[in-house]
Each structure stands twice: as C-alpha cells, then as structure tokens.
Amino acid sequence: MFFNNLKQLHGTVYINDIWCKGCGFCVQFCPTNVLDISPEFNAKGYHPPYAKNPEKCHDCQYCQMICPEFSIFVTKDNEIAKGEAEK
C-alpha cells in the first residue's frame, strides 16, 4: 500500500463479437497485452478477441480508437476499493 495513495487507473473492455471481423489490431496494439484472439467463432465465422488479462487494462482506450468495426470499447472503473495501486 503506497503512502501517497496513488491508484492505478483501471478500465473494463467490452467486445461486440457480432460486429468483429477478426483483424486483430486491438490484440496487436494493446500496450499492456490485455487482449488475445479467442478460439471461438462469431456468427460471421471470425475469431473475435477476448480479454485474457482484464486486470491489466489501464483505460487507455487505444483499442477503441483503432478498431475499424467499432466493435470494442472501454469504460473507466470507478470502483476504487478493488483498484488498489499495483506494484
């Protein structure tokens, strides 16, 4: 527990499987490696991403920015209680 009470910012990733066409940009570019390609298929027959390490998300929203299909977005966690600073 740090003395200056700095908290790591956390986010939650939401993925809209139906719109995804499996380009993998989000997986490739996530700076903290939250995402990975899912072995599952979506309705279109593509492999959508899934949040492999959801706790690593820092709410940078880069995936949201680069997704060509608008099928991923991030919300900021306000739940500070569990959001204690990471080491």
């Binding site: 527990m1 740090f2 003395f3 790591q8 910012l9 700076p31 709410d59 940078c60 600073a85 080491k87």
Partner: protein
C-alpha cells in the same frame, strides 16, 4: 656504436636489502661487466648523500647511463632519473634494478638472494647498455574536467574545480542531481536536515557559469589519455523540454500509469511522467519510457494534451555527444547491499522490514509520510522498532567481509529520530560492536542510548517472522547470555554499502581497476588515495570505499585539488618510451592497430604510424607484430633478449 659508460649503484636500504643480499659483492660483480666503468654500494642510496654520490659519479666518470639496484621503480625511479638529469644526461638512460621487493624480501637464504640480485642487476646493466637518450614529449592540455556522478562527491568536486576556473562537465545518470544524500532526512551527528545543506550546493552547481550539468546522461566510451580524454556521452531522452516545463504538475494528474517511485524506494508510487523531488535539478519532469503506454499520441497522449507549455515531445531520441576533457573525476557512489540477499531477515516474505534509506524517507519531512513515522503495511505508528546493524556487513562467510563504516552512526541516528517522532515508542538496536570514530560521533551514540533511551542489545538476530500483526524477532543478548524475543511493529536493517551499479559500469568504460569488493581501486592505499591507477582519472566518494558525508566532501575536495594541479600546467610531459615503427619492415597488416588498447596506432600509406601522445609504451604492438617492425623505445627486442640472456647466464 661507441661503448657505453655505465655506473652501477647498489643500495643497502638499511637492512632491508643488506640482510639477504651481499650488496658489496653485487657491486663488485657489476664492475666486471663490459660496459660498467663505475660501481659502488651505499647504505641509503635515496638519501641526500646517496643521491649526491650518484650525481658526482656521473660527472667524474663521464657516465652516459646509470643502473640503481634498489627498491621498486614505482618508488624511486623518478628520484634517480631526476638525478641523472641534474648531472647532465637524459633521465631515460637510468634503469632501476629491483632487488628489494623482487629479491631481498622474498628470499631468506643469503647466497641465493645475492645470486639473484646479481642477475637482476646484470640484466638492468645490459638494458641500460642499449638505452637511448630521450626527452619527455610535451603534450597540450585540455582545460576541462568531466565529473561522473552528481551526488555530494561530484557536486563538491565540481564546485571546487569550477571556482578555481576550470570548465566542468557534471554527468549524472538519474533525472536529478543529489544522489543518495538528497534522500536522507537528517545527518549525524548534528541532526541537520540533509536537503537543507545539500540543496544550496545543488543550486550553486546549476547556476555556476563554469559548470555544465548533464542529467539523465551516461558515459559510454572514453578514449585518449591524461590531459586529452575524449568522452562519448549518451543523452537519454526525457521527452520533456526543461526550458519550457513550468512544473505545473498537470501531466501527472492525467497520466494513467502507476509504478513504484524509486526515489522514495517504493514507499510511494509515481506516474510514468514524474519529477523525482520538489528540489530536483534540473527542475523538470521526466517521462519514463518503460512505464509509459507507448509515447504515442493516439494511444494515450494525455500528458501532451494537457501540457499548456507544450514542453512534452514524444519524438525526442537518444543523442550521443563527444566531449573533450583533460581529466575525469569518478564519483559514482554506492548502493545498499540488496535486501534480497538477506533471506534470513524475511525479505519478500515479511512486511514492514525496511532498509535504512526507506527509514530515512519515512523520517524526512519531504518524504513519503511528510515526516510521520508510519509502517507501510497498515499506515499505523509503530510502537516497537527493531534496528539490526551489520546486515550484510562483516560477514565473510555469506555477505560482505568489510565493515560499511557508517551503519553504526546512522542506526544511532535512526533510533534517535524515531524516539523524537514517537516518544512513547521503544527502539531496540542489535549490534556487534559500536564503531563511532569521528568528531562528536561517540557522544552522539551515548546520547541516543542515555537521553533518547534506545535499548542497545549486543548480539545478532537469528530469525524473524510475521506473527499476527507483529514481527517476532528472535535474537541473543550476548552480554547477559539470554535469548531475546521482541514483538516488533517494524524492523529496520542497516544494510551494507556496496559499490553502485554505475561504479561497475564506469570502471569498465574508463578501464580503471576495482578492489575485491568492487570498489574503485586507488593508486596507492596511503599516498595516492584519490588517484586511480590511470593518470588523469581521480576518485571521490563512496565509489572508492564506504564513507560518510564529511569524508566524502573532503575526498572530493582532494580530488579537485589534484585535478587543478594537473591542469594548471601549460603542457604535460609524456614518457618518451613509446612505440616506434620500422617502416622498412612494416607490411601494413594492421595487427598492431587492433592490438593497441589506447587506439594510438593508425595506418598511413599502408604503414603503421604511432601517435606518440596516446601511446603508453605497453608493448602490446611489439608482441603481436610478426616482423618485429614495431617496438618500444628503451624496451626493444634486442634489450629484452639481452636481459633474458643475462638472467640465464
């Protein structure tokens, strides 16, 4: 070649040599040598009458070369070469035969010792027989100094040299000047605030017209020699322009990354963009490339968006600059011996086991807790604190064999500070001995024991473990012979000092030696304590050995004085015993070029050419040349063969 006229002078060195070597016989045997026209022995050749005898003999007998059989050339070579010069012949025609360290001191048998002394002297006579008269080479001097390390040692040395008119380049690896001293809360034995006495000096350094401060920079390569070094310095990108930064702190408010703050030793966290301390110099933020989400304005870019001064620039790249300096002061300081090496004191397993520097930050008014002593795990005031001295020091079996010198004093200071902060708390100190040599030091320790009421227990801690919300500390009080068990709230380890990682790097870059513990090696433990073995490179501070602040400041001043003395000469004289190329034999194979550790040889029109200023006469080139086309003056192959022959005869 006309026949040489050599004089041989054999020294008794009191009984040092005469006890094992029959000096009179050595002198007599030498007189039988073909080139020797004069020989004598004398009780102390280095005494004034002894030296005068040498000068007189050179004049009276028209000697053109001299051999002095005495102690190591590192001691009196200069004395006798000066005598030769005073008598009117070249100093470089004088050779020293070391019959003390390499003969008298290592033998017991007088006959064997005498025999060996004769051989050593004879080989020196043969070498002198082919010595040339040489004159020292005058080398121009660059009147600039580079100081590596911006702690108190580097700061003090820089100030002293700059005030004497030298231009100083102060290179610091971290983002701010100050080093470890800036992390301390109070200093023993006067308990004055460390930052309050250091920050005026830091400000003076940063404002001094003669000093260029280069923070966040590392020295990568150094070439050249005394008077003319060339240093390649890497400027790491901070991604923030210190000229534009207004220190408004807007960037840290929006940065989403949190990592432990190394300047507070992990007690607090910082953002990827940060300023180490409020007093940091230069006063500017630094963007930690590793922690940042990627220096990409699309990816994050929050800090850049809010920076009104437009000081943040993600496109900054590392930059290398080459600086020419005449001398270098190495003040790379210390690190604490890693707690991870001390598994027995519960590192990584037991919370609230701190090291000395962390405790400093807890006590410091500018520190993690604004000067309230709280324990990290639950932020409560600890009521029982155990201080363990010699954690890692004086333990040759497992850790460092040496005494870290300052731990007794800083533990006394910690105990005293703790009692001032928490008057109803109890401070226990486990110690082996109290070493408090220094002005006012012993009185300070006594005051901590008697007035502040710290409880000193002579003995070591055998084990500690977490027990509910306490730390159970088991140890022995060897004065009463009883086992001690303390339920402590916090444990502070007085970890050993070890040379910093930067010290190891600097030693490698500068090619200077280190001792068995990794500290920088001085040229002579008593008489050259601030010089490194390489001319023109000086040592200051804890990089050379554990020391406290007063000693560090004194040594920094001493190093500065040495640099000033060196660089106040119009030219430096360089030994003329340098490599020479026989152009007719040289095939331009470049083997000597690669072998030369001083980069003194280059190829010109297909033949090797020696830069006499850079050449140190080490002979690596001679050893690699297949055609004997390059050799060192006054250590030619002919001379070496004759010396070997003289020894084997």
């Amino acid at each position: 070649m006309t026949k040489k006229r050599t004089g041989v002078f054999v020294c008794h060195c009191g009984n040092n040599i005469a006890a094992t070597v029959d000096v009179a016989r050595v002198a007599k045997e030498m007189s039988a040598e073909e080139t020797v026209v004069y020989s004598q022995d004398y009780v102390y050749m280095c005494s004034d009458p002894g030296q005068n005898a040498v000068i007189q003999a050179i004049k009276d007998n028209q000697l053109d070369s001299v051999v002095v059989s005495c102690c190591s050339p590192s001691l009196h070579e200069k004395t006798f070469r000066d005598n030769a010069t005073r008598a009117g012949i070249s100093g470089f025609t004088c050779e020293i035969a070391n019959i003390r360290e390499q003969c008298a001191w290592v033998h017991k048998d007088r006959d064997v010792g005498t025999e060996k002394a004769i051989k050593i002297s004879r080989s020196a006579v043969r070498r002198a027989g082919r010595n040339q008269s040489l004159e020292p080479i005058a080398v121009p001097v660059t009147r600039r100094v580079m100081v590596i390390g911006g702690g108190i040692a580097g700061i003090q040395a820089s100030l002293d040299m700059a005030n004497a008119g030298l231009e100083v380049l102060l290179v610091e690896k971290q983002a701010t000047l100050g080093g470890h001293m800036l992390q301390l809360s109070e200093t023993f034995p006067t308990l004055d605030c460390s930052q309050c006495i250091l920050s005026p000096k830091m400000v003076e350094v940063s404002r001094h017209p003669k000093i260029t401060v280069m923070t966040y920079c590392e020295v990568q390569e150094v070439s050249g020699s005394v008077g003319n070094f060339k240093a390649k310095i890497l400027k790491k990108p901070t991604f923030v322009d210190p000229e534009k930064c207004k220190i408004c702190d807007d960037c840290t408010q929006v940065c989403p990354v949190v990592v432990p703050n190394e300047y507070e030793l992990g007690l607090t966290a910082r953002r990827a963009i940060y300023i180490p301390y409020a007093q940091a110099i230069p006063a500017s933020y630094t963007l930690d490339e590793d922690a940042c989400l990627g220096l990409n304005p699309i990816r994050c870019g929050k800090c850049k968006d809010v920076c009104e001064a437009e000081a943040i620039n993600y496109d900054m790249r590392p930059e290398t600059v080459v600086e020419e300096v005449g001398a270098i002061v190495v003040a790379t300081g210390f690190d604490l011996y890693g707690q991870e090496n001390l598994g027995e004191y519960g590192y990584g397993k037991v919370e609230d086991v701190l090291d000395g520097l962390q405790f400093e930050r807890l006590c410091s008014a500018s520190g993690a807790t604004s000067g309230h002593v709280l324990r990290p795990s639950d932020h409560k005031v600890p009521k029982d604190v155990v201080f363990i001295q010699c954690a890692g020091s004086r333990d040759p079996a497992q850790h460092c064999a040496y005494c870290s010198k300052i731990c007794c004093m800083y533990t006394a200071k910690h105990a005293s500070l703790y009692k001032h902060h928490v008057p109803d708390g109890r401070a226990y100190v486990f110690y082996i001995d109290i070493r408090s040599g220094g002005k006012g030091y012993e009185e300070f320790v006594q005051r901590t024991m008697e007035e502040d009421g710290a409880i000193y227990l002579r003995g070591r801690v055998s084990k500690l473990y977490r027990h509910n919300d306490k730390i159970k500390v088991l140890g022995t009080d060897t004065l009463t012979g009883q086992n001690v068990e303390i339920d402590a709230d916090m444990v502070v380890l007085a970890l050993a000092m070890q040379p910093s990682k930067g010290t190891a790097d600097a030693a490698k870059v500068l090619k200077i030696g280190r001792d068995k513990d990794g500290f920088l090696a001085e040229a002579h433990p008593k008489l050259k304590p601030v010089e490194s073995v390489t001319a023109g490179i000086f040592l200051a501070g804890a990089a050379q050995g554990p020391k406290d602040i007063p000693e560090t400041v004194a040594q920094a001043g001493a190093a500065a004085a040495k640099v000033i003395a060196l660089l106040s000469q119009a030219t430096l004289s360089h030994a003329p015993t340098v490599a020479r190329v026989r152009r007719s034999h040289c095939t331009g194979c470049e083997m000597c070029v690669t072998a030369c550790p001083y980069h003194a040889i280059r190829l010109e029109n297909g033949k090797a050419v020696v830069n006499e200023v850079l050449c140190e006469g080490c002979g690596s080139c001679t050893a690699t040349c297949l055609r004997a086309a390059i050799e060192v003056k006054n250590a030619t192959q002919m001379q070496v063969f004759e010396m070997i022959e003289a020894c084997l005869a």
